[in-house]
């Protein structure tokens, strides 16, 4: 009997319980007890997900499994339920979220062991898990939005975890506000969805949408196009794409496990997940897909360039995350949803690992984050080194490592797929080159070369077991996570794509036909192997590696010279293209100016105060009454309330009466 399938609510409930228990009681509890609650809730979730997967696969279902638990919002025709949906896509996401989440929880027990507010941290983490699972399992857009906003909230809480540090709380606020801008689009998009389909349930939406004609790739006014673009605005905010990426690097103020879990592995991929989930709509709006692809490609290249020169180890990883997210969007944008999701998964493994390893490094260095003050750590912290090395190979796209398969799939789709676009492909290849370079740069700066820190001040030590074990596990995943697709190299099927096929075939007739055709057209045998090993992606990765080796191992003096000779570009990159400054100048300042000068000095002082003063001076008798407004006397306020009520009722009822 499928236990979990029939009781889907168990999965999000467990971390919620964990969060509640830790939140309420954790303060008095020892760390061990907090650990037990936090970890056990997540591990139970993970086990639940495994069982769920088993049960779902046992069904051999080609359609999504939807369970509705309660009516939630019903307003006129509008109806949103608490319903959860399970299909292959959800399963992948659930696996990633709960699996990586579990590892990061374990890791955190070591990393956060000496921090204040330990229970708070775990309570937030569990809460985050709850919202993320809700997001992933949501059966309708509104519930998804709940998860969407919930993870945003947790992100805000966790970035600002060290809330006494101004930069941390500022970063939290920034993350919250910037993503909110995107969410406006998401909200309007949801409304439009409801407007169009009279429902917010995915099943219903997709059923209707798949019957609609594919919209013009040039006309921006098509309903689906508008919907998709608006929803994508939300994704841009959440997944830190151009131009709303600015919050993610700042989010590195949060504790490293948070960066790993939320800002690398799970939350930021919510946008990708959303686009993949709504692929039926996107497939009917080629223009929107193009926008997605362009934004993705632009972001991946753009942020990779910034990543080249960053010196803060976490900042490099942050920009790298933005860049990789760009890959995922690129994949989605060129119709290779499965590839995008595949990359999402592998990225979760190796980027999570990178962050955790970076955290381990920071831990070892006693809080130092600047790579210029590291070096030669290879021998001191071997486990961290080896795991990080594996992750670097993965992200750089070295063959047989997970990143290779997923990135290659995306690039393939960009080159040969139904929505192929050679310019975007070029950007992708360039991005891969840069990725390989900055990742090896990071590796070399950190682990190779001479020590650039003071041995007496910094006691370098390997992290405790509860930190290294997740590292090792993730490293295994980062290496092997892509082997689902390994047979493609031999011309065989891509198991991952096959797994997801029911989802992506379901409602996208036009696209899926092309996909199927494409999938069938694989070349066979050694030819494919040679071709994939000599793919441009592999070559650029190699070039990137060699360059990095040249710059940072062979000739460590070169980077400085290069920076000096290309000073303008260097500073531009170092200052991240001055985007924050531009935003400040273009948006924030004008707003401040308007509110200060127009609203305050003009409207408030001149108009309102002037009017009040004028009345007061012109009619003393009434003036006394007017001053009463500010008397602080509650009775007067009560009277004002009544006056207002009379006004409103007279207006409303009077007008209504006349209309009748």
């Amino acid at each position: 009997m499928p236990i979990i399938l029939n009781n889907l609510w168990i999965i999000p409930l467990l971390p919620l319980l964990g969060a509640a228990i830790n939140g309420i009681f954790g303060k008095q509890w020892s760390q061990t007890r907090v650990n037990v609650v936090g970890i056990s809730s997540v591990s139970l979730t993970f086990l639940g997900v495994i069982e769920l997967t088993r049960e779902f696969l046992a069904l051999h279902s080609q359609v999504a499994w939807v369970r509705s638990y309660a009516p939630w919002m019903i307003a006129g025709p509008f109806r949103a339920d608490f319903n959860f949906q399970i299909d292959q896509l959800t399963l992948v996401m659930l696996g990633v979220v709960s699996g990586v989440g579990l590892l990061i929880h374990i890791y955190s027990t070591g990393y956060m062991a000496h921090e204040g507010g330990y229970y708070r941290f775990f309570s937030y983490l569990n809460l985050f898990m709850f919202f993320m699972l809700t997001l992933v399992m949501a059966g309708n857009l509104v519930l998804m939005f709940v998860g969407w906003e919930g993870v945003g909230l947790c992100s805000y809480l966790l970035i600002g975890f060290y809330f006494l540090r101004k930069s941390a709380s500022d970063a939290g606020k920034k993350a919250f506000i910037v993503t909110r801008i995107g969410d406006v689009g998401f909200t309007i998009g949801t409304l439009l969805v409801f407007w169009t389909f009279k429902s917010v349930d995915f099943t219903e939406i997709f059923k209707q949408a798949s019957g609609m004609p594919v919209e013009s790739p040039t006309y921006i006014g098509g309903t689906l196009t508008v919907i998709c673009l608006l929803l994508f605005a939300g994704a841009i905010g959440k997944s830190a794409q151009l131009p709303l990426y600015v919050w993610l690097p700042d989010a590195m103020e949060g504790p490293t496990p948070v960066s790993a879990l939320i800002h690398a592995a799970t939350m930021v991929t919510a946008g990708v997940y959303m686009v993949a989930r709504m692929h039926v709509l996107y497939s009917h709006a080629p223009l929107a897909m193009l926008v997605v692809a362009i934004v993705g490609a632009a972001t991946l290249f753009y942020s990779a360039t910034i990543g080249l020169v960053q010196t803060d180890i976490k900042k490099v990883l942050a920009y790298s995350t933005v860049s990789q997210l760009g890959y995922m969007f690129l994949g989605c944008g060129v119709g290779a949803y499965a590839a995008g999701v595949f990359h999402l998964m592998t990225h979760a493994f190796f980027k999570g690992l990178l962050f955790l390893a970076a955290g381990s490094v920071i831990h070892a260095m006693g809080g130092e984050q600047d790579m210029r003050n590291m070096g030669g750590l290879r021998k001191k912290i071997p486990i961290t080194f080896w795991t990080m090395f594996a992750a670097t190979l993965a992200i750089a796209g070295v063959p047989l490592f997970s990143g290779f398969f997923s990135k290659e799939a995306i690039l393939d789709a960009a080159k040969d797929g139904p929505y192929a676009n050679i310019y975007l492909w070029t950007l992708g290849i360039l991005g891969a080159l840069l990725t390989s370079f900055y990742m090896f740069r990071l590796l070399f700066l950190t682990f190779f070369g001479e020590q650039r820190y003071d041995e007496h001040k910094v006691h370098v030590h390997e992290s405790p077991k509860n930190m290294t074990i997740p590292l090792i596990l993730l490293a295994i995943l980062a290496v092997s996570g892509g082997w689902f697709a390994a047979p493609t190299m031999l011309g065989g099927p891509n198991h991952f794509e096959n797994f997801l096929r029911p989802v992506f075939e379901a409602g996208a007739p036009a696209a899926s036909a092309a996909l199927a055709e494409n999938a069938g057209a694989g070349e066979t045998g050694g030819n494919a192997l040679v071709k994939s090993l000599l793919a441009p992606g592999v070559i650029v990765a190699l070039i990137g590696f060699l360059t990095a080796w040249w710059f940072y191992i062979r000739r460590p003096d070169l980077p400085k010279k290069l920076a000096a000779s290309m000073h303008g570009l260097y500073t531009l990159l170092l200052n991240k293209y001055y985007v924050d400054e531009i935003y400040l100048a273009v948006i924030v300042r004008p707003l401040l100016w308007v509110s200060t000068n127009v609203l305050w000095h003009t409207v408030d002082e001149k108009v309102i105060d002037g009017a009040v003063n004028g009345v007061a001076s012109s009619a003393r008798g009434i003036g006394g009454e007017v001053r009463q407004i500010q008397s602080g006397n509650p009775r007067s306020y009560a009277t004002w309330v009544v006056i207002g009520a009379v006004g409103v009722t007279v207006l409303v009822l009077g007008v209504w009466g006349m209309v009748r």
Partner: protein, 103 residues
């Protein structure tokens, strides 16, 4: 034969609400002002029940009354706690002597 027009109830509700408003303005004792608010809420409840009866269908109106009652109780609890604090600080129950709301 046994019919009472719904409008009777509605008018009664309006009158009670009006009296609540009057009491709200008229009373000076902070506790009785809260009572006036309760009276208004009660009047609204009556209207809800009356409308519910007129609709005849599922009793959404009752549910609202239910929630109004909960809110009223919470309001009374917090409001009176505020009243206690104010009185402890100001030594007066007269809201006219309490001008904390000034700015």
């Amino acid at each position: 034969m046994n019919e009472i027009p719904i409008s009777y109830f509605l008018v009664l509700s309006a009158i009670l609400f009006g009296l609540g408003v009057l009491a709200f303005v008229f009373k000076r004792n902070i506790i009785t002002v809260f009572m006036a608010i309760e009276l208004m809420l009660n009047a609204v409840n009556l209207a809800f029940v009356a409308f519910d009866r007129a609709r005849g269908g599922p009793h959404d109106g009752w549910v609202f009354v239910f929630f109004v009652i909960v809110v009223a109780a919470a309001e009374a609890a917090v409001g009176l706690a505020i009243a206690i604090t104010v009185v402890h600080n100001r030594q007066s129950l007269n809201i006219e002597r309490v001008n904390l709301l000034k700015f």
